[in-house]
């Protein structure tokens, strides 16, 4: 190998330059292939969606109907479900992820933090269909028998907030979907937070402790302000993941085309709608096109979120 590595030096400069040019072209092509991949995905979705947008216009976005019999479709209900479950997930995952990141960086000894951190990251490797089965087998009965009846009897009696917690305790629905998503995205968010917390110059924390601040005050007044941009970036990354999650949600969302204020009511998300209805729709039909259209919307929403996330995370990552 060593001999052959030096042999090209005997060749003429022209041939050597040629080899470099060929190599550069190959790697450049494969890089451009990635750009084409994403561009192609957006373009194909838009192309497939043209029938639905042509038929319903922009009203498609705000139409609650999804009726294959009357050939009337709208994206409002699945979009509502996607946003509600993802926002619920973020609301639950952010405190969890923050607590874990603080525990791993500030509270636990580094040996234990290594082991526990690995375990938490293993949770991120579990496939989403497994979360779906777990949710269906464990979380749904738990919600139906304990959480939802209890919440309906207590929180459900409050004047305004109560609306959120009324409804039949099926166990499936927006809240359960949000909880599954929360468990799934917590490892991602906490990994980002932990990395930022660890990259903070130790002298800032040490001087704060030296002035007599408690640990919580250091976290709240020193670490959090310093890492705010990246923390928000990490949260957006989690949101982007939650928006496009399919298999886990499909098991627990209840699959009803429904918009309502009750967190217990079954609904659907864009991804679960596609997973369930796409196999039953013929190419070229209006339903097919409508499914492509909601897919296109999901693409726009999740790419928008991920772009925000990357822009926020880049400021710190650049110094890495």
């Amino acid at each position: 190998m060593d001999r052959s590595a030096t042999s090209p030096s005997a060749l003429t400069g022209a041939v050597r330059g040629n080899g470099d040019a060929v190599f550069a072209t190959i790697v450049r092509c494969s890089a451009v292939l990635i750009l084409l991949g994403l561009g192609g995905m957006v373009a194909v979705m838009a192309w497939g969606a043209r029938g639905a947008f042509g038929r319903f216009g922009l009203g498609f976005l705000f139409d609650k109907a999804w009726n294959p019999v009357t050939q009337h479709f709208g994206a409002a209900a699945p979009m509502f479900g996607t946003l509600v479950t993802s926002l619920l997930a973020i609301a639950m995952a952010v405190p969890l992820a923050f607590g874990i990141a603080v525990w791993l960086t500030e509270i636990a000894s580094s040996r234990i933090a290594g082991v526990i951190g690995t375990l938490i990251q293993l949770l991120a490797a579990v496939p989403s269909i497994i979360f779906g089965m777990w949710g269906f087998a464990v979380l749904v009965p738990f919600m139906a028998h304990y959480v939802e009846p209890m919440a309906a009897h207590t929180l459900g009696r409050l004047p305004v907030v109560g609306t959120l917690f009324r409804g039949a305790p099926y166990g499936t629905g927006f809240l359960t979907g949000g909880m599954i998503l929360a468990v799934m995205i917590t490892p991602f968010i906490s990994a980002v937070m932990r990395d930022v917390f660890l990259s903070m110059p130790a002298v800032l924390k040490e001087s704060a402790y030296g002035l007599g601040m408690t640990r919580w005050e250091v976290v709240r007044r020193i670490i959090l302000p310093w890492s705010r941009t990246s923390v928000v970036g990490g949260i957006m990354l989690g949101l982007g993941r939650a928006l496009g999650e399919t298999m886990a949600i499909t098991f627990v969302i209840g699959n009803a085309n429904h918009i309502g204020w009750s967190l217990f009511s079954p609904g659907n998300t864009i991804a679960s709608l596609i997973a369930l209805e796409f196999p039953e729709s013929a190419v070229g039909s209006l339903k097919f096109s409508s499914l492509m259209a909601v897919g296109f919307l999901l693409m726009l929403i999740s790419l928008g979120t991920l772009v925000c996330s990357r822009l926020l995370l880049r400021s710190k990552a650049a110094g890495r």
Partner: protein, 303 residues
């Protein structure tokens, strides 16, 4: 627990015992209480999420262990009540993930090389490609399935294992790109300089010196990509579809573990749901093993 308490005590008590700096003792107590509560909540968050992990593993083992029989590995999926197995799904999964890595890893590898080694000349394009690759890393996988459905399944007129592999390969690429770039950046400049000084052309330096030095890390990335796609269900639903019979032809619809699990988990037959749990146990064990191996290997290399 004990270590944590003493650590907390030193952090909190220092200002109080040092006398003169102590403010009014009421606010001091309040600060200490807030700190205790916050610390407790951090413990609770960590314990809660760990409990979720163990709960998932426990349920998988409890429901899936009974199906770990010889029959499961040699019989194909059969109608309910006929003692079916998962053989076609297991083999189909292996073929599709294998093909996906064969297609996706070279593209990811070359792009990773491009991102790490051509910064001087192609700065702008490189930033764009890195950005897009990072987006693909988290893009909704079901849309990847739709995409391949439109560009492969519709033109060819039928579902196929190859279409499934193509969909998975789109998910392989960004993972490999990311790790390859990161690992190549860790290769010391002096090694490149030494190789250039010997008169090696650039492509030779990159392939024979840099890539060789980064070999372990790059292999890690490919393994992680394999682990990631082997559990993916959504991209396969509309591409390889699933197949109840034995089939290893990449041009025919092909069974896969995740899709079979999806079809069986919601079924009303007890033997089908049991098989779904066994499949879930198999796939999760495989993925977690790969992840643990990779992490242990990485930890060893860092020391």
């Amino acid at each position: 627990m004990a270590g944590h308490d003493s650590q907390a005590a030193t952090a909190v008590d220092t200002p109080c015992t040092s006398g003169r700096w102590q403010g009014n003792s009421l606010s001091d107590m309040r600060r200490r209480m807030v700190d205790r509560v916050a610390t407790g909540l951090c413990w609770a968050a960590t314990v809660l999420v760990l409990l979720m992990l163990f709960s998932i593993l426990f349920v998988l083992v409890r429901n899936g262990i009974s199906g770990l029989r010889w029959v499961t590995f040699v019989h194909v999926t059969l109608p309910p009540g006929q003692d079916g197995g998962l053989a076609n799904a297991i083999v189909g999964s292996l073929i599709q993930t294998g093909l996906a890595v064969l297609i996706g890893a070279p593209v990811g590898l070359l792009t990773g090389i491009y991102l790490a080694e051509f910064t001087a000349t192609d700065g702008r394009l490189i930033n764009a490609v890195r950005f897009v690759s990072d987006l693909l890393l988290s893009a909704p996988s079901i849309l990847v399935g739709l995409f391949i459905y439109m560009i492969v399944v519709v033109p060819t007129g039928h579902f196929s294992g190859l279409a499934g592999a193509l969909a998975l390969s789109i998910l392989v690429v960004p993972v490999v790109v990311r790790t390859t770039e990161d690992m190549l950046r860790l290769v010391p400049l002096s090694m490149r300089e030494a190789a250039f000084a010997l008169g090696a052309p650039r492509w030779r330096v990159i392939l024979s010196v840099c890539l060789r030095a980064a070999r372990d890390g790059v292999a890690t990335g490919i393994l992680l990509a394999l682990a990631r796609v082997s559990g993916e269900t959504a991209p396969l639903l509309f591409t390889s579809l699933g197949n109840m019979n034995w089939s290893v032809s990449p041009t025919a619809p092909m069974a896969s573990l995740p899709v079979t699990i999806y079809q069986y988990a919601g079924a009303a037959y007890a033997d089908w749901t049991a098989l779904a749990w066994t499949g879930a146990l198999l796939i999760t064990t495989g993925i977690l093993m790969i992840n643990i191996t990779v992490r242990l290997g990485l930890g060893r290399n860092r020391k």
